[in-house]
C-alpha cells in the first residue's frame, strides 16, 4: 500500500509499505477514504516529539471503510463506513471506565503520561497512522463509529480530532454566561473553541493570532473579535485595557508547543528542542486573565519541561484545566450541533492533498502558505 512516511525533521515522502494486518482479535483494518494533517502533526514533522522513528506514518484524523475485522469484533462489519477518533482506547481500564478515553492505560506501553494516538510517534504507542491507504484500528468495537448518512465526509473527518478538541477546550474553560473568553490561536482547533465558547454562553469571544487570514476566518466562522498580536507592543496589556483592567474570565490555549511571539522561547523549543514546547501562548493566557480565572490548555506540548510562568498562575489563583480530548465522548452532542448548523467543520478545509504530494502538503502547512487552515489528505486507493 501507499503511505506517507517520515524521513527526518522537515522531510516526508510517500512510500510503498506492507498493508497492516490483524494483530489482536479486536483489531480492524480500515481502508482510508479521507485523512487530515493536524497542526500537532507539525510537531512530529519538525522533530520535536521524542521517539518519532524514521518510517513512521503520521495521521490521527481519518475516516474510511472497514476492510477486515478480527475474530472478536462484534460491533462493526466489513464494508461499514467509519469515523475513527484519534484516541486509541480499550473502554475498560480505570480511565476509560470514567470517560477519559484519551488517558487509556491499556494501549501505550511507551509512556504512562499519555494515551494511545494513531501515527503520533512511539511516545503515544508506536501505531502507524491514517495518512495511508490502510490503517490498523485496535479495539474496533470501542473507538470507531459508523458515519451517519446525513453527515458530509469533510465534517466527519474533522470530528475525529480538530472539532472535538476545540469543543472540549471550551468545556475545559468552565464558561458561565457572560464570560469574556480569549482564545489564543486561530487554527482549526482555536476557531472551533471560539465558536463553542458562544454555545456555552460567553458574552465576548476574542481570538489572538499573528496570521491575518486566519483572524479573518475567526471573524466569519466564529463571529469573534480578533487581535493580531504583532500590531501591539504588548498583547497582555492590550487584553487588560480591553477588559477594563480586570482581565478575561477564561483563556484557552489552542496553540501549544510551537507558539510564536517570543523568539527565544520559540527557537529553544521548536528549533533546538530544549523545551517540551514554547509556552508563549500559555504565558500570555496566564497573564491576560483576571485573578481566580480558568485556563484551558488543549494545545499539545511535548513531554520535556517548558518555561511556564507558574508563579503568576499560582499567585493569581488560577484554575488550569488540561487534557487531550476524549473524542468519542463529545460525539453525540457534537453530532447535534453539526446537524443543527451551529458548527460547520467543513468550512475550515482549505486544501486537499493527494498522497503523492504529501511533502508539498506538509511544507505548505508548516510554512503557512496559500492561506492554509486545514489540509485534507486523499489516499489514491479510496
Amino acid at each position: 500500500m501507499r503511505a506517507m512516511v517520515y524521513r527526518g525533521p522537515y522531510k516526508v515522502r510517500m512510500e510503498e509499505k506492507d498493508r497492516p494486518g490483524i494483530e489482536h482479535p479486536n483489531d480492524a483494518i480500515v481502508r482510508v477514504q479521507l485523512a487530515a494533517i493536524c497542526g500537532s502533526d507539525l510537531h512530529l514533522y519538525h522533530g520535536m516529539m521524542p521517539d518519532t522513528r524514521i518510517g513512521h506514518t503520521f495521521g490521527h484524523e481519518f475516516i474510511g471503510v472497514v476492510d477486515e475485522v478480527g475474530s472478536s469484533v462484534q460491533n462493526l462489519a466489513v464494508g461499514d463506513r467509519v469515523m475513527v477518533p484519534f484516541n486509541i482506547f480499550c473502554g475498560t481500564c480505570w480511565y476509560c471506565a470514567r470517560g477519559l478515553y484519551s488517558n487509556c492505560h491499556n494501549v501505550n506501553p511507551n509512556a504512562t503520561a499519555v494515551g494511545g494516538i494513531y501515527g503520533y510517534s512511539h511516545t503515544t504507542g508506536g501505531y502507524d497512522g491514517g495518512q495511508a491507504e490502510y490503517v490498523r484500528v485496535p479495539f474496533a468495537d470501542v473507538g470507531p463509529s459508523r458515519i451517519p448518512d446525513w453527515m458530509a465526509d469533510e465534517d466527519a473527518v474533522l470530528l475525529t480530532d480538530a472539532t472535538a478538541t476545540g469543543y472540549f477546550g471550551a468545556q475545559l474553560g468552565d464558561i458561565v454566561e457572560g464570560d469574556v473568553v480569549i482564545v489564543f490561536g486561530a487554527g482549526p482547533v482555536g476557531l472551533v473553541a471560539a465558536k463553542s465558547a458562544w454555545l456555552m454562553g460567553a458574552g465576548r469571544v476574542i481570538v489572538i493570532d499573528h496570521l491575518d487570514y486566519r483572524l479573518e476566518k475567526a471573524r466569519t466562522f466564529a463571529q469573534a473579535e480578533t487581535y493580531n498580536f504583532t500590531e501591539y507592543n504588548d498583547i497582555v496589556l492590550e487584553m487588560k485595557k480591553t477588559t477594563d483592567w480586570l482581565g478575561a474570565d477564561v483563556a484557552i490555549d489552542a496553540v501549544g508547543a510551537e507558539a510564536d511571539g517570543n523568539f527565544l522561547q520559540h527557537v529553544t523549543s521548536s528549533k533546538l528542542k530544549l523545551q517540551g514546547g514554547s509556552p508563549v501562548a500559555l504565558n500570555w493566557a496566564i497573564d491576560s486573565v483576571r485573578k481566580g480565572a480558568t485556563i484551558s490548555v488543549m494545545g499539545a506540548y511535548g513531554p520535556l519541561f517548558s518555561a511556564v510562568k507558574f508563579g503568576d498562575a499560582m499567585n493569581k489563583g488560577l484554575t488550569i484545566h488540561t487534557n487531550q480530548c476524549p473524542v468519542k465522548r463529545q460525539w453525540p452532542r457534537l453530532f447535534e450541533h453539526v446537524r443543527n448548523g451551529y458548527l460547520k467543520p467543513s468550512e475550515l478545509v482549505t486544501h486537499r492533498v493527494p498522497l503523492e504530494d504529501i511533502a508539498e502538503g506538509y511544507h505548505i502547512f508548516s510554512a503557512k502558505l496559500d492561506g492554509i487552515i486545514k489540509p485534507l489528505v486523499v489516499p489514491t486507493a479510496a
Binding site: H24, P50, D51, R53, W245
Partner: protein
C-alpha cells in the same frame, strides 16, 4: 469595574447574542456539556465486551516505560527499534518518564535514526532527496512570496533557520569529510616527500 465590586458590563445582551450567533447558549447548562464533570462512569464501557482485553502476542521484546506495571495488552508494532538508534532507545527506556535523561536520549536517538536511514538510503534505488522530501517546490506553486511579503507574520524571523536545520548537518558533514580527506592527502604527500629525503 475592576476596583469596585461589579464586573464591567458586556456590550451585548443575551438576546442580542442569541440573535447574532446561531446556537448561542445551547450548552449554557453544564449538564449539556459531554465532559462535565470530568469523571463519569461509563456503564456501557463504550462497546467493550471484556473486563480486561485479550493480550496481543509479543513478537519481539517490546520496549516499555518502567512506570508501567506490565506490558499493555495492546501496543503498536510499527518500526521496532533497530541499529544504533534502537540501542539508544532501549537504553532510554531504563529511565522513568520523570527523568529528563529518558526524553533527551530518545531525542538523540531520533537524530541518530535519521542519519542511519539517510546513509542506508544511498545504498538503495531511492536515496533521500532533500528537494522532494521537504516539499520546498511548493514555494513556487503555492505563493511562497505572496504568503509572506506584506503580512504581519512573526514566524518569518525564525523560518530562515529551517534550511539550516534540514541542511546544516549535511553541509557540516560534507565539510568534515572534505577537511578530513584533505588532511589525509596532505599527510600522505608529506610522507611521500620525506621518503625522498636523504637519511643521515
Amino acid at each position: 469595574m475592576t476596583y469596585t465590586p461589579h464586573k464591567p458590563p458586556i456590550a451585548e445582551s443575551p438576546d442580542e447574542l442569541r440573535q447574532r450567533i446561531p446556537g448561542w447558549g445551547v450548552d449554557l447548562d453544564p449538564r449539556d456539556r459531554p465532559s462535565v464533570p470530568k469523571l463519569q462512569f461509563q456503564e456501557d464501557f463504550t462497546g467493550a465486551h471484556w473486563k480486561f482485553p485479550e493480550r496481543q502476542p509479543e513478537k519481539y521484546p517490546r520496549e516499555r516505560s518502567v512506570e508501567h506495571g506490565m506490558l499493555t495488552p495492546v501496543f503498536g508494532t510499527a518500526q521496532p527499534p533497530s541499529g544504533v538508534a534502537g540501542a539508544i532507545r532501549r537504553y532510554a527506556y531504563h529511565y522513568s518518564e520523570g527523568r529528563a535523561a529518558h526524553w533527551l536520549l530518545l531525542l538523540a536517538a531520533d537524530r541518530v535514526d535519521a542519519w542511519e536511514h539517510h546513509l542506508k538510503s544511498f545504498l538503495t534505488l531511492r536515496p533521500d532527496n532533500p528537494i522532494t522530501e521537504t516539499g520546498v517546490k511548493a514555494e513556487l506553486t503555492h505563493h511562497g512570496l505572496r504568503s509572506r511579503i506584506g503580512q504581519h507574520r512573526t514566524d518569518l524571523k525564525h523560518q530562515v533557520l529551517d534550511p539550516v536545520i534540514v541542511g546544516g548537518a549535511w553541509i557540516a558533514a560534507a565539510g568534515a569529510v572534505y577537511s578530513g580527506a584533505r588532511s589525509v592527502a596532505r599527510s600522505l604527500a608529506h610522507v611521500g616527500s620525506d621518503a625522498h629525503r636523504p637519511v643521515h
